[in-house]
């Protein structure tokens, strides 16, 4: 890591600060949501569908209710309020009603004295399934019977697409989509299903409040949207449901949707006892949505000088059984399909379909990962076709402030795409290591498969971009509260913000912002909860630093003003307590027919990164070793540089995982590798050292000029790693994760 900034316990904006949760997490003292405990609590368990698609004619709980230790066995008929919920569209039953649409869908829930008793009771629930032919091929989904009655996502200003099982279709027409050029290259690219694979499984604790309401302690990404989905299903007012953030063991988008929140709350209210639920690892793989698998056709037309003339793309996303955030992922996959390049003509068509495969939704990169893998493969192909250096080709086409995107949106903020390309390309590539060397430093690693035989080296390059904050007219504001008190003439501050600390370091961002604005060291951060402050929006879309800093700065400045009004000091016992809500600049929807922006623009701001990768490949065994990664990333302003480097390295590792090994495998809609034995994530031997350069060109509209940092490394690293593998092997490698079979040519 190239961070050299000093590390302080108490820091202001721009200083590297040790994370307040770092030591407890490393020493094992940090309380994760799975560590929660309440006196007298029961354990909840979920009975899940063993079918990918089936009618449910009966759920017989009679035997289960009499099992030892059992306090409640509940089905859809026990859901007190709305029977369905959803992040964007309420198409998902709290508990299956008359049909199951994916493998692992919740059918019934049990509360018992001991988790084992709850599991045993769930085994005695008899569900009468009538299996249906599952829709598992997304290319045929629009010709099959609809999986959902009605059209859950129709309307909403989306393009009309009457075909069955369409979640959303977007068509972006830009310039003359038939424009011809000197050279044309095309390809078809595929991505498998990636899982967030967070280490902390879905878990939480629901405690009834004895007044009909409930407190839910849970690992989540957005407390208030959880509340707004949970309360209607419980038949309660939002204020009767208080959501409190429990220790989050990783999120990456996988905790945007609800998991056990409603179930635990139902069991707690039904039994009048605290109820804890913890998914096991296997269950976690069906307990949250995944990254959309995709099939992408792209055609790039360019002139001899390398200038892109026309990009045409068709993208098919498999959304799985429920909508989740698929509609927004569809928008991102299409909006960023042409990459961070200026192109005057484009035709992008993107459709996301319902199937009976595992449901997909938000995951780090959110549609841009899929598109980047395709557009960067195409840029390499184009460079080879034109005989132009791949870095030079990208520079000649790099988007810049003032340019217009295929959606018609003009880039008005900072966008140093050319700069990140130049900086990443300028990083010195390490010399090849001598042989012989330790097997751990060769492809195959500890498997001891080569002493250098079959090993070839390759260098790859990729660039990618996406937006920061929510888009298409969604106002994702953030609230913060600052409370000033005085004791012994010393001022102290308490900050409240419901931003979810999911491992990204937002707690430090909040404290650094408050210390900077209040010019105080004595600042503490209250627990994140819906009961003390307004919504923070989601820890998603690389938005939380920008939005939390914006809200805390507003509230702190308001507190400062009030303090000044009172003469600059507080008497002991006197307090100032202000809450402020920060909004980013408004966005507007895309035109459903043309995919062009209406009004100000669909996106708030853009972030980009460039990456150079050195890899070694054993071309006879298809095994790989990524040797080194150099990257330059557009970060606006690094609030906590050490944390930014951490996000870059972690994000790269996640994209590298998709490039090389991470895939949920299915057979007829059933997951066949739901464990960390067979769903492989990179180890320290798979992840290379990273040289990262931060490019700080402040975003004009953002507090301190910050941008988001969490997603660009993941967007780019998948494409960059595969680019290096192509260079080493000379093969096209059009699908990720790249399989050893493809490398050796089977």
């Amino acid at each position: 890591m190239s961070a050299t900034a000093r590390t302080l316990e108490l820091g202001r904006v721009g200083e590297s600060v040790k994370r307040i949760d770092a030591i407890p997490k490393v020493t094992g003292e940090f309380a994760y949501s799975s560590d929660l405990f309440a006196a007298g609590m029961l354990w909840g368990h979920t009975l899940r569908s063993s079918h990918a698609h089936a009618l449910v004619s009966e759920v017989d709980i009679s035997e289960a209710v009499g099992m030892p230790g059992v306090h409640a066995v509940l089905t859809h008929s026990d859901v007190p309020g709305a029977k369905t919920y959803g992040l964007e569209f309420p198409d998902q039953p709290v508990l299956a009603i008359d049909r199951v649409r994916y493998f692992g869908e919740p059918v019934a829930i049990v509360a018992a004295e001991h988790p084992e008793q709850a599991r045993r009771a769930a085994e005695r629930i008899r569900v009468a399934y009538e299996p249906l032919e599952p829709v598992v091929d997304p290319e045929q989904a629009t010709e099959r019977e609809p999986i959902h009655e009605g059209r859950p996502t129709a309307g909403h200003g989306f393009r009309d697409d009457e075909r069955p099982n369409v979640v959303r279709t977007i068509v972006i027409r830009h310039g003359d989509p038939d424009a011809e050029a000197d050279v044309t290259v095309s390809g078809v690219y595929e991505l498998g299903i990636q899982d967030q694979a967070f280490l902390g499984p879905e878990s939480g604790l629901a405690i009834p409040d004895a007044e009909g309401g409930v407190d839910v302690y849970v690992a989540t990404q957005w407390l208030h949207i959880d509340r707004d989905q949970v309360a209607p299903c419980l038949g309660l007012e939002p204020k009767q449901v208080r959501i409190h953030l429990a220790g989050v063991g990783g999120a990456f988008g996988g905790r945007e949707d609800l998991s056990m929140q409603i179930h635990a709350a139902m069991l707690a209210l039904h039994t009048d006892r605290p109820v804890k639920m913890v998914y096991n690892r296997e269950e976690s793989f069906v307990g949250h949505i995944h990254r959309h698998p995709a099939k992408i056709w792209m055609e790039h037309r360019a002139n001899r000088d390398g200038k892109l003339v026309n990009v045409r793309a068709r993208i098919l996303l498999d959304g799985g059984a429920y909508a989740s955030s698929s509609a927004a992922v569809t928008a991102n996959a299409s909006a960023f399909a042409c990459g961070p390049y200026a192109v005057e003509n484009a035709l992008v068509e993107c459709t996301c379909v319902y199937t009976n495969n595992p449901p997909c939704g938000a995951m780090r990169g959110f549609g841009a990962v899929q598109s980047c893998f395709a557009h960067e493969a195409q840029m390499d192909k184009l460079a080879a076709e034109l005989g132009i250096d791949p870095v030079e080709l990208r520079l000649r086409n790099a988007l810049a402030p003032g340019d217009t995107l295929p959606t018609g949106q003009r880039i008005t903020g900072s966008f140093p795409a050319a700069e990140v390309i130049r900086r990443a390309a300028a990083l010195p590539v390490p010399e090849p290591e001598e042989l012989p060397r330790d097997a751990l430093r060769l492809p195959g690693g500890s498997g001891n498969t080569t002493r250098g035989e079959g090993v070839r080296r390759g260098v790859g390059f990729a660039v990618g971009f996406k937006n920061v904050c929510y888009s298409e007219g969604f106002d994702d504001s953030t609230a913060a509260r600052v409370r000033l008190t005085a004791s012994d003439e010393e001022l102290a501050a308490e900050v409240h913000c419901a931003a979810a600390e999911v491992g990204q370091g937002v707690v430090n961002v909040i404290l650094q912002t408050a210390r900077t604005e209040l010019d105080l060291d004595d600042v503490v951060l209250g627990a994140a909860t819906t009961s003390s402050v307004g919504s923070a929006g989601s820890a998603s879309a690389s938005r939380m630093t920008w939005m939390a800093a914006g809200a805390v700065r507003l509230a702190a400045r308001a507190a400062n003003e009030e303090l000044a009004r009172r003469g600059g000091n507080l008497a002991p016992g006197e307090t100032i307590d202000v809450e402020r809500i920060y909004h980013h600049r408004p966005t507007t929807p895309l035109d459903p027919e043309t995919g062009q922006v209406t009004g100000d623009g669909a996106h708030v701001a853009y972030i980009c990164a460039a990456m150079r990768v050195v890899a070694e490949v054993d071309v006879e065994l298809g095994l790989t070793r990524v040797v080194w990664i150099g990257t330059a990333q557009d970060v606006g302003k690094a609030v906590n540089p050490q944390a930014v480097y951490g996000q870059i390295e972690g994000g790269i590792a996640q994209g590298l995982g998709l490039a090389l090994m991470e895939e949920i495998q299915t057979r007829d809609g059933l997951i066949t590798n739901a464990s960390f034995t067979d769903y492989l994530v990179p180890t320290t031997l798979d992840m290379p050292p990273v040289d990262a350069e931060l490019v700080e060109e402040p975003e004009p509209d953002a507090p301190y000029g910050v941008k988001g940092v969490g997603e660009p490394p993941t967007v780019v690293s998948t494409a960059a790693v595969v680019s290096a593998l192509r260079d080493a092997t000379g093969r096209e490698l059009t699908r990720v994760p790249v399989s050893p079979d493809e490398i050796v040519g089977l």
């Binding site: 096991n280 751990l440 001891n448 498969t449 090389l660 066949t672 590798n673 320290t684 798979d686 050893p740």
Partner: protein, 263 residues
């Protein structure tokens, strides 16, 4: 669930006879996975961690005698690692340090997975498994002990006590193919030795058939040996890899292993 913890081999054998359905557990690196995933719920676990006779290793009349409780970490340490280099290399590929501290060679035989990393190195050392029960002791050659995928020749009242294996009589090596560079279950593996004492090359493969398999040939027939090893395997397609890839890789591994052992 009941956990029995005998303090001696005699007590362990008596308990196993009294509880023939009990599942022996040592490191727990396989058994606990089965329990955690709720794939097995034995009435009784027979905890062998306190049975001193199963620990460590010794030289025994020209052979090496490995206690069933020998851990992979112990397998990586000199001087045992010098006597059985392929077993040491295989041990290094098992899990991470914590797993290697707990997992045992005896457990690998008990599980009898075709992917068991210790099996190919033991096969090329002509390993013989010592089994015991209250009825007495018997010795079973490893190829006969491995009766099928996750099946072995243990009777319900028997325990694995030790493995007798020939020390290396020439260079040997172990290689394991997996899609990540550490902590992976083998997609295909190979142990190979060029044994000049017996004028033969012996190779054993894992994850390429229902059981780990042994192939041997006179040194004069080294040239066609990689093809013979590949032909002896009967791999399948599963979530970890394709049959065609496994067979091809086995040929590549054999070529490389022969070259390594001849250097």
């Amino acid at each position: 669930m009941q956990v029995l913890t005998p303090r001696s081999l005699a007590e362990a054998l008596r308990l196993k006879a009294e509880h023939p359905g009990s599942v022996p557990i040592q490191g727990g690196t396989d058994v606990m996975v089965e329990l955690n995933f709720d794939r097995a719920r034995p009435e009784t676990l027979l905890n062998l961690n306190e049975v001193r006779e199963l620990r460590g290793w010794s030289r025994d009349n020209g052979s090496i005698r490995l206690g069933a409780g020998l851990t992979y970490t112990e397998g990586m340490e000199a001087p045992l690692a010098e006597a059985l280099p392929a077993l040491a290399e295989a041990s290094r590929t098992v899990g991470g340090p914590q797993i290697r501290n707990r997992g045992t060679v005896g457990g690998n035989l008990g599980t009898a997975s075709p992917a068991g990393d210790a099996l190919p190195p033991l096969l090329i050392g002509d390993a013989v498994v010592e089994l015991a029960s209250v009825r007495g002791e018997r010795s079973v050659p490893l190829p006969e002990f491995l009766t099928g995928p996750k099946r072995n020749a243990l009777a319900a009242d028997e325990l694995i006590v030790a493995i007798l294996v020939r020390p290396a009589a020439g260079p040997q090596t172990f290689m394991k193919v997996g899609p990540r560079n550490a902590m992976v279950i083998s997609v295909v593996s190979l142990a190979l030795t060029v044994d000049r004492d017996h004028d033969e090359v012996r190779a054993a493969f894992g994850s390429a058939g229902p059981v780990a398999g042994l192939v041997q040939a006179p040194l004069a027939e080294l040239n066609g040996f990689p093809e013979r090893v590949a032909a002896a395997a009967s791999p399948i397609d599963d979530v970890r890899g394709s049959a065609v890839y496994r067979r091809k890789s086995l040929r590549v591994l054999t070529v490389r292993a022969v070259e390594r052992c001849l250097q």
